[in-house]
């Protein structure tokens, strides 16, 4: 455990953090897009691929047994991590997007008909908008949108007006990938449940920064990706309450998800297999287990305090510099803000800033961040975003501020 007491040692766990780009130390500030991978995750993927590679579940040989166990142990680890009621409620997917599409399709087939309504929010990633639009097109339903205010907070007081007796489901992000504000999802779930409406939470960012207890939240679905929480890419989870998953038809047909197949009739497998058609990404999905171990360590020691200080430092700077407009400004306490900052610099294009920061060794993100409605809401064509993880340091934050200033000077 001593290994994790000092930030320097934490960094040693992630091989990429020691590399240089253009001769400069890499400062990786694009963690909201994908987080870096710890050695334990890389090792697990390597080991399965090198020595246990075998398709899961069906075969009786030793290798299949090993790969199946690694895959199913990951399911148990995820179940415990989010405190799901049972392992059947954990469906493995290829990522948050796939998880949401699954619900939009299968829930839609079971519960939505012409004239019904779905509520999303203005702060959503395209992945939590477009699947619902597709569902609405299929079903003749319509989409309603809960707005965000100027500071980047959901206008929860307007939710009551949006809900009608035709509302079938609400989809809301735990934390917007642009605003970085932790949304009051528990309150939103409470309001929806009081009207009998289930809620899907997009947890792509939330799973990394919040302690998620799905039973405490009482959400009906919680969707997230592996690659943003230190696991391998191409992995994802859909948590769903059993009563809904049981009532929903399969999303995709194929191997694994069947009971019996004949040309006259096919029956479907039990949960969770019912929603896991085809060969799964087993070597990558197995890495949820070591990734969760890392995440637990990152969340359970002094590193959290350290990264909070770094967050406060960057926040203070971005708010105080008059050339900068920050989106997602916490009200009252900083605790509702994750170390993710999207902003624009007056008169300067976000792409120019990102290009120059890149040559200084800083990985940032520029553009619309897959959230065009939010860009429109704030009247910008794009933003610059930096997003930090607990392995980032105060030193890096100070270097970033210095570099940002130099970039602004160059571009002014």
């Amino acid at each position: 455990m001593n290994l994790f007491m000092v930030t320097e040692n934490i960094r040693d766990m992630f091989p990429v953090l020691s590399r240089k780009v253009y001769g400069k130390d890499l400062v990786y500030f694009d963690n909201a897009a994908t987080s870096q991978r710890p050695q334990s995750v890389i090792d697990m993927w390597n080991e399965i691929s090198s020595f246990s590679n075998s398709n899961i579940h069906r075969a009786v040989h030793r290798l299949a047994d090993e790969s199946t166990q690694a895959y199913e142990q990951a399911r148990d680890a995820v179940k415990d991590f989010i405190n799901a009621g049972c392992r059947e409620e954990i469906i493995f997917t290829s990522g948050t997007t796939a998880s949401i599409n699954l619900v939009a399709y299968s829930f839609g087939e079971a519960f939505v008909s012409e004239g019904d309504e779905v509520i999303v929010t203005e702060a959503e990633h395209h992945s939590n908008i477009v699947p619902w639009q597709l569902m609405c097109m299929r079903k003749g339903a319509s989409l309603k949108v809960l707005p965000v205010d100027e500071s980047g907070h959901l206008m929860v007081d307007k939710l009551g007006e949006l809900i009608s007796d035709r509302t079938r489901i609400m989809a809301v992000t735990h934390i917007s990938n642009v605003l970085g504000i932790i949304n009051p999802v528990k309150e939103i779930i409470g309001i929806c449940h009081s009207k009998g409406i289930p809620v899907l939470v997009d947890g792509a960012q939330g799973i990394v920064h919040c302690e998620v207890d799905v039973q405490d939240l009482d959400c009906d679905f919680y969707a997230f990706s592996g690659h943003k929480m230190y696991a391998a890419t191409g992995t994802g989870v859909l948590y769903g309450k059993r009563k809904y998953l049981d009532a929903m038809p399969p999303y995709m047909g194929g191997g694994e998800m069947v009971g019996t197949v004949s040309f006259a009739e096919t029956t479907f497998a039990q949960l969770p297999m019912k929603f896991e058609a085809g060969t799964q990404n087993f070597a990558s999905t197995a890495t949820f287990k070591p990734a969760i171990d890392v995440l637990n360590l990152l969340n359970s020691n002094k590193l959290v305090e350290e990264i909070d200080k770094v967050r406060d430092h960057i926040l203070e700077y971005l708010i105080s510099d008059e050339r900068i407009r920050l989106f997602g400004v916490p009200r009252g306490t900083n605790e509702e803000k994750i170390p993710l900052f999207s902003f624009v610099v007056k008169g300067i294009h976000h792409e120019d800033l990102a290009l120059i920061l890149d040559k200084m060794g800083i990985a940032s993100r520029s553009g619309q961040m897959c959230a065009e409605p939010l860009m429109d809401r704030y009247g910008v064509t794009g933003m610059l975003r930096i997003s930090l993880a607990p392995y980032n340091t105060m030193e890096e934050a100070e270097y970033f501020i210095k570099c940002l200033n130099r970039a602004i000077d160059m571009l002014s």
Partner: protein
């Protein structure tokens, strides 16, 4: 006016003077700022070059058998890149433009130093310049 080949060589020499990419960006930023005013009314969809991450407009007119380009972008480094291209190819005959192999962008290391999406943008800009030359040849 110097020949196109001479102008291309001059740019290659100019870029070779800078060791650091930040300095090359600084040079591109200056080029971008030196671009003459581009009328707002010409910022139309048909003049927009598709495939660029930032918006780039390329306008042209024919003068004495020569293609005269004007361009703009909302991002200054991109504007510098299109400005560099215009500096080379504007005021030349379509035949002259088409005689170039456009390898200058590789020789100055521009293409390899842009991310693939931005490199595609660069390819789109060059494609548009060639297309205009071809239409007027």
């Amino acid at each position: 006016m110097v020949t196109l080949a001479e102008a291309e060589n001059a740019i290659i020499e100019e870029f070779s003077m800078y060791d650091e990419w930040l300095d090359k960006y600084e040079y591109l930023i200056e080029l971008g700022k030196s671009l003459k005013d581009y009328p707002e009314t010409s910022k139309t969809d048909e003049k927009l070059i598709k495939g660029c991450q930032s918006r780039v407009w390329l306008d042209h007119k024919m003068e004495d058998g020569k293609v005269v380009f004007n361009a703009d972008s909302d991002a200054i480094i991109t504007k510098g890149i299109i400005s560099l291209l215009i500096g080379l190819y504007s005021g030349r005959t379509p035949q002259e433009i088409l005689s170039s192999d456009f390898s200058v962008v590789e020789k100055i290391g521009l293409k390899e130093n842009l991310s693939p999406t931005r490199a595609n943008g660069l390819v789109s800009m060059i494609g548009k310049i060639k297309e205009i030359a071809l239409q007027n040849a």
